[in-house]
Symmetry: C2
């Protein structure tokens, strides 16, 4: 069940868990859909906030996703939680950047949102 | 632009290319959509062919994908090329396994095919 994927000159190992005949040598394939989404919207947002001169001390994206029980087991709900760390961060700019990524720039969101129920949340932490 | 993703206890680094303000420390996020697809359908197919007692010497998946030019830049066409290596492989079983993955089992295909034009090809190499 081990698959090696080559992407932009980088190697990525995928594997199934032990219970499914694999050896857990890498992540499962399906959740890579979520990494694609996190990276896509994350780079959008950081790029825009840089241009807006917003000084972030840190930035995390957590994704909560729910799959169907029936086959084909696929994501039916995805919630993207954007967590910004910094001092006196301008909430309007954070919201604007997230909105522009979700609605306009992120090509991964664009595909998923036509099939999957998508939700998001913005969290701000003083630091 | 470097993002570290944690998946099933495995770490995955994503990054943008130099031209986009990154340092190429890992793959771009969007093509991870293709790795997710390759791994998902690949594990399905290998699992089914094992059950059908088909003896593969090797198995590769190549994906050709085309994105839109306009924003949001997203995949509009994806072609999955299944390449099987072995001796006197039973083509009907290879086709059956690929079809079952595409139509019934692969939860990644299930999402993409509702939005993206999907195509596939089966190649067999004697070895």
């Amino acid at each position: 069940m081990v698959f090696e994927s080559e992407l932009d000159g980088h190697k990525l190992i995928m594997d199934a868990p032990g219970a499914a005949g694999g050896k857990d040598k890498g992540p499962r394939p399906k959740p890579l859909m979520l990494s694609a989404l996190a990276g896509c919207t994350g780079m959008d947002v950081v790029g825009m906030l840089n241009k807006m001169r917003v000084d972030l001390k840190g930035f995390n994206i957590n994704i909560e996703a729910e799959t169907t029980d029936e086959v084909p087991k696929h994501y039916k709900k995805i919630k993207v939680i954007y967590e910004f760390l910094g001092t006196d961060l301008p909430k309007d700019k954070l919201e604007k950047a997230v909105e522009l990524s979700r609605e306009k720039y992120c090509g991964v969101s664009h595909v998923y949102k036509q099939v999957i129920e998508m939700d998001y949340e913005i969290r701000v932490k003083e630091s």
